[in-house]
Amino acid sequence: MSTPNTAETLPTTGPAGGAPASPGGVAVLECDDVCVHFGGVKAVDGISLQLLPDTIHGIIGPNGSGKSTLIGAITRLTKLTSGRLLFDGEEYQSSPASVVARKRVARTFQTVRLLPDLTVLENIQLGADGRTHDEGPRPNLLKRLLGKQISPAVGEAIERTNLQGFESFYPSELSYGTQRRVEIARAISTGPRLLLLDEPTAGMNQTERAEISALLQSLRTGGLSQLLVEHDVQMMIDTCDHVFAMNFGKLIAEGRPKDVVQSPQVQEAYLGRKWRDHA
């Protein structure tokens, strides 16, 4: 990182569980001193971080600390005030959002954003529609024109998110938790190299959360880098390999989930005494 980082960097001895983060492996994504200011509001204020392959990263932080804005900046849906963004070591802070998405950066949003007139299957296929990295023969033109083509990636995403049986449903017929799973399936079906999830389990019960956590961990292969925003601290500890803590648009700590959660800065900013007692 080119600028001095004011965040307290806690010892990282590799991910909490599973494969170690590739030592010396090149970061999939790098933020360098990224700022997003809305008038006087410094939503993101000088964030520098790296996201590694085969790793689940987490961001914790109180409401309004800039987590969603940071994801917006990384995906280029939100305009940067200053700073650099690098994907595979290449700067992209002036590329439009669609170009970034085609680098295989997929995201979900904090609120459910499904297309109401498409079925679950079609909503997920929308993600697979953007795939440009598939090899092998393309389906024939007529089939594509008539819209009969369903990508293999869609079937796989449906299976992973346990959505079998819902394919022909419309979003309005589904519970909130199921809608969220459709969004995750849509993001997965793009075949991402970087997956950004903004509170994917909001509105889900414990069982559903555990399922999503297991799903994300099962995706921690093939070079995929993940960034998860969640409020459920226990889930973050169980799921993430590396956690960043944000407050007022700045990084206040990063490292192993347990260490970050227990660090005094984070306790002060976010968790209060309750968590320390609990831990």
Binding site: A97, A101, E122, L146, G147, Q164, F169
Partner: protein, 317 residues
């Protein structure tokens, strides 16, 4: 040929040009672009068609092709100029474009024939040409509602930010919407002049916007089927209403008002909604039967069992 067809030939022709005009405004609306530039392209197409035939002795098919391409180009340029606008402001800018076409038509000297317009446009245009061109346009628009393109168009309309995050170049889609709208409007205008043989400034301009909007509001704005329904109704209805004489306008107005208030997705939308609720009810009946046959899940909470039943339980909500 049946005598019905021959006596109503003018209405058949008007249905086809009306349909293409309606599509020229529906295509951008399907992409969330409230542009009426298609109506301007129609006016442009009427005059360009007249000029190509009268001043350049061009045959019907090349006249239509060239007019369509020119109109597409003109409207694309309009799109580039106003791409940054949205919603009402964009709509107003495209209305202004339609008015500019009218002003040019009145003040175009010999080229446009001033307030008399151009007349005597006779060419080798046949009804065969007309049906073929109408069918091609319809098939192409229908294909754009299916498959990958259809989904992506939906995304661009419903949620441009989401569309961008799916790798869709929203700006490009919107510009293509302008160009396609120009081609459709231009072709409709050119066919209109070739069957009517005359055009004056009174034939183009604002009333075309009203006509096209009426067609797609009543028929349905999100599918070509809606445009077909609308074009049929509003080409034939005024003729049928001729019986009631001066009440015609009133009845016409009431129909549009009722449709706008009661059928926000048009007649085609009613069909889609009905189909969907039938589907939902069938699903429910199927699961009711399934749950009646299988013993209720035990309260010990066998998770695999619950997982399997999840879709069914959802359907019953």
């Amino acid at each position: 040929m049946s005598s019905f067809y021959l006596t109503n030939l003018v209405l058949v022709q008007a249905t086809i040009t009306g349909l293409l005009l309606a599509l020229s405004i529906q295509v951008p609306i399907r992409m969330g672009v409230f542009s009426f530039a298609g109506a301007g392209a129609y006016g442009f197409g009427c005059y360009a068609g007249a000029i190509l035939v009268l001043d350049y002795q061009m045959a019907a098919v090349p006249t239509i092709v060239i007019t369509g391409l020119l109109a597409g180009l003109v409207v694309l340029v309009v799109g580039l100029l106003i791409a940054k606008l949205n919603g009402l402001y964009l709509a107003m800018a495209t209305v202004a474009f339609c008015l500019i076409i009218s002003v040019v038509a009145i003040n175009g000297g010999e080229l446009t024939g001033g307030s008399t317009g151009r007349y005597g446009v006779i060419s080798d245009f046949t009804m065969g040409h007309m049906f073929a061109i109408g069918a091609i346009a319809l098939v192409l628009v229908a294909l754009s509602e299916r498959g990958k393109l259809g989904r992506r168009v939906d995304a661009v309309r419903e949620d441009p930010e989401l569309a961008a995050s799916m790798g869709i170049n929203v700006r490009r889609y919107r510009l293509v919407a302008f160009a396609v709208s120009g081609v459709l409007g231009g072709v409709a205008g050119a066919m209109n002049i070739l069957v009517r043989s005359a055009v004056s400034p009174l034939d183009i301009g604002f009333p075309l916007i009203v006509l096209a909007l009426t067609m797609i509001i009543v028929g349905g704005s999100l599918s070509w089927k809606g445009a077909v329904i609308g074009a049929l109704i509003f080409t034939w209805l005024p003729d049928l209403l001729a019986v009631v004489g001066e009440w015609q306008e009133l009845i016409y107005g009431i129909i549009v008002a009722i449709a706008a208030v009661l059928l926000p997705r048009g007649l085609y939308g009613v069909y889609v909604d009905t189909k969907r609720s039938v589907l939902r009810r069938r699903r429910q009946e199927a699961t009711d039967k399934a749950t009646a046959q299988t013993p209720p899940p035990t309260s010990t909470g066998d998770t695999t069992d619950i997982d399997r039943l999840a879709p069914e339980m959802e359907a019953q909500r």
